[in-house]
């Protein structure tokens, strides 16, 4: 009798079943790890022999997709031009020294965790030679240890807060001195000394505003408000109310993503006008203007390296080619342009390596990328050989009724990038030796760096 009870005493998972399922778990783990070895091929295009594998890592779904999808588009355009010997690549032959680029595309779904996982996959499993990708600082930070540990290369196309100088990243977006340094004096001279700073609540806006605040105070201006809203917020009643109360001469906005259209709309809706209190923004570009409706942006300003209205033959071609590929209603903006030009930096570097008979790996591409110049839509740009950031133009655009910017300020040439704000960290520079030893490159020179422009060589 008692035996019968024992077998049914505790009706949880019986031991036998438990054993079965444990085996199942193990089996599934093994099975999955064995099937996961294939490589995704993208498109049916004929890539010829021995293509070069390049990772493209932008989210096309989730909250950041609103920006990153366009970066992916711009990257695809550049890769297509390289593979088909068109656009800026015309005359170089199809591909790089006859080898075409095979893009390995991943979509991390706006999830930092997946950026990390997928960058590991790109490097370890797909064996890409380098990766083009990321938008937010958080996603860059989440993949940075991967690229450093595995010593691979990331081309990162986004304006950011600076304070970083990895030997595994090429920063082709604006460093703080290429976006903030010129805009603050402009604001004080044209609008007045009192600035109200707003931003999304994360590292880039906070650090950006901190640098801007230091710059503004240095020239005798004053910050009358400093407010942050959670990332992705679309409710700005309180911040706008505080702006009204503080009566600033201008508003400096570092809001990002879907907060931007909401802010501009509610700003105007609350009766604040661009002729009285203009907004100077960093992350507001043609794309966001299009999404909010240009009537809300007219009269406000953005400080960026590139605008669709930049008057160069290269830009005219870029805009035309982009619209031809992705539709006439699409606009181009500074981040997309950076994504576009960094692809050519990469291609030129690979070409250099291959022409010299070298092998494509992190070390050779890294050394070859340093100092690359490119006649970009925004003008002649160059990768700084010391700190791996890019020489870029600094421009200020005033938004018009048609959603395009009138460029009201531009530097005469591309500005040398400085990774650390010289206002906050005077004399701190980043200089990588040749060849890169991957040791700490930070030097305290003790004296503030002067602005240098790129000279034609």
């Amino acid at each position: 009798m008692s035996k019968k009870y024992e077998s049914t005493l505790l009706n949880g998972i019986s031991r036998r079943k438990f054993i079965k399922y444990s085996s199942l778990a193990v089996g599934s783990g093994i099975l999955a790890s064995c099937t996961g070895g294939g490589t995704s091929s993208t498109g049916d295009e004929d890539l010829g022999e021995n293509p070069i594998k390049v990772g493209v890592m932008y989210s096309t779904t989730g909250s950041i997709a609103i920006v990153e999808k366009s970066l992916q588009d711009a990257t695809f355009l550049a890769l297509e031009q390289i593979n088909t010997n068109t656009g800026p690549w015309e005359g170089n032959g199809e591909g790089i020294n006859g080898r075409k680029i095979q893009k390995v595309v991943v979509n991390p779904n706006s999830d930092w965790d997946l950026y990390n996982q997928m960058s590991k996959r790109l490097i370890d499993e797909d064996k890409v030679v380098c990766v083009l990708g990321c938008y937010t600082s958080a996603s860059r930070k989440s993949v940075l240890p991967v690229f450093e540990e595995k010593d691979s290369l990331l081309y990162y196309p986004v304006y950011y807060e600076g304070n970083e100088c990895s030997s595994n990243v090429f920063y082709t977006g604006a460093a703080p001195n290429q976006q903030i340094t010129d805009s603050i004096p402009y604001c004080k001279e044209n609008f007045g000394p009192k600035g109200f700073f707003v931003g999304s609540d994360y590292i880039y806006p906070k650090e950006s505003n901190r640098i801007a605040k230091a710059e503004l105070e240095k020239i005798g201006g004053k910050v009358v408000g400093d407010e942050y809203s959670p990332l992705g917020t679309t409710e700005f009643i309180t911040i706008i109310n505080k702006i009204k109360q503080a009566k600033p001469d201008f508003v400096l906005s570092n809001l990002v993503g879907d907060s931007i259209p909401a802010f501009y709309r509610q700003y105007k809706d609350a009766g604040l006008t661009s002729d009285k209190v203009p907004i100077m923004a960093y992350p507001t570009t043609e794309e966001e203007i299009q999404a909010m409706g240009s009537e809300y942006a007219a009269g406000h300003y953005t400080s960026f390296n590139y605008f669709q209205t930049v008057d160069t033959p290269e830009n005219a071609a870029f805009v035309e080619q982009f619209k031809a590929k992705f539709g006439d209603s699409r606009v181009t903006n500074g981040v997309m342009e950076a994504a576009y030009i960094q692809t050519f930096f990469m291609a030129q570097a690979m070409q250099k390596v291959l022409k010299e008979g070298g092998e494509l790996n992190t070390e050779t591409i890294r050394e070859a990328t340093r100092g690359q110049e490119f006649q970009a839509p925004q003008g002649l740009v160059k990768v700084d050989p010391d700190n791996y950031h890019a020489y870029l133009y600094s421009r200020i655009g005033k938004w018009q009724e048609d959603g395009q910017a009138e460029i009201v300020f531009a530097t005469p040439a591309a500005v040398q990038p400085i990774a650390w704000s010289q206002t906050l960290y005077p004399g701190r520079v980043c200089t990588r030796p040749v060849p890169d030893t991957r040791e700490s490159p930070i030097k305290e020179t003790g004296k503030t760096l002067q602005v240098k422009y790129l000279e034609k060589t």
Partner: protein, 321 residues
């Protein structure tokens, strides 16, 4: 008088300018609280649909935000294709989202009545699917919805010494509040004064009994759920021109809508109004005194404590044990 207040405020501001802190001002605070009504309107609008699907039907709908998103995209589509005015799209947006809601009820919700946790999981899956489909159709980029040009500007209640508005609220915000309250009244009327509403309540209170009395319960279920989704669609339409339109936009409203409904109590529609008012005003008030993120944390903590002590919400009659 107000000039005094303002000069005081400027003095005070000079004093604390180093910290860039906002000086306290009664006028500004009243302005903030008046404008808080704008937040209340949006909470009410986004919470109303949930008050139907959860309050009346007890369906835990985590795809509620996606129905708001669908409403916004319906409006975007009608505007960009037919050049329709936003106001004009409201009834169509309601019909489109309600139709999708009915379809969802037929294919998914119907199979899960009486299994709240499964419903919760299914609607989460649904929210992923809806976002994915919209992204496939409309791409991931932000979309532009034009606001009605005739509802613009601000209602100025009080001017300061310089003649600029000191207390003012935008007409569009007032419009949102009006729509929200109108829908609330309409819903209350439908639910309490019409035959259909009586059937709905009969079904939700005692399904079997209602069935015996000849009520077509499955039709009532479908209609009620569709109506709740339609309300979410209207919310999406109305806020689309004030906020941003993108596939994941609904996620932003989900938690807030839930908190609104739970705070007020789900048994009475007026609870939603109360919940929206309490959450909207307290978060604007705290945000004014401190800042937005802190206000959010404090309000959420307050809601947790409220649920702890009054899980049935503030406006529900004590039931017999």
């Amino acid at each position: 008088m107000y000039a005094h207040l303002f000069s005081f405020f400027y003095l005070a501001q000079e004093a604390v300018a180093e910290e860039t802190a906002q000086a306290f001002s009664l006028v500004a605070l009243s302005n903030q609280l008046i404008n808080g009504i704008g937040v209340v309107g949006i909470l009410l609008l986004t919470g109303l649909g949930l008050a139907i699907t959860f309050g009346v039907m007890r369906i835990i709908n985590l795809a509620h935000g996606e129905f708001i998103m669908l409403g916004a995209y319906a409006t975007f589509w009608m505007q960009s294709t037919f050049g329709m005015d936003l106001l004009l799209t409201i009834p169509f947006s309601f019909l489109i989202t309600a139709a999708i809601g009915a379809l969802v009820e037929l294919t998914i919700i119907r199979r899960l009545y009486g299994r709240p946790l499964e419903t919760l999981l299914a609607t989460w899956g649904l929210s992923i699917v809806l976002q994915g489909i919209i992204k496939l159709i409309f791409t991931a980029q932000l979309k532009y919805v034009k606001s009605p040009p005739y509802i613009s500007g601000n209602l100025t209640l009080l001017k300061d010494a310089q003649g600029s508005p000191a207390i003012a609220i935008s007409y569009y915000r007032l419009f949102i509040v009006t729509i929200a309250i109108a829908l609330l009244v309409l819903t209350g009327y439908l639910l309490n004064k019409t035959d259909l509403g009586r059937q709905v309540r009969a079904v939700t209170q005692n399904r079997d009994m209602a069935k015996c009395l000849g009520v077509n319960t499955s039709l009532i279920d479908m209609l009620t759920f569709a109506y709740g989704c339609g309300l979410a669609g209207i919310a999406g339409t109305v806020i689309s021109s004030l906020k941003s339109v993108s596939p994941p936009m609904g996620q932003d409203y989900l938690v807030d809508a839930w908190m609104t409904v739970v705070t007020g109590g789900v048994d009475k529609l007026v609870g939603v109004l109360a919940g929206a008012f309490l959450i909207g005003e307290s978060s604007s008030g705290i945000a004014y005194l401190l800042n937005d993120p802190t206000a959010r944390v404090i309000v959420l903590a307050a809601v947790i404590i409220l649920i702890r002590y009054k899980p049935e919400g503030l406006f529900t009659i004590q039931k017999r044990g």
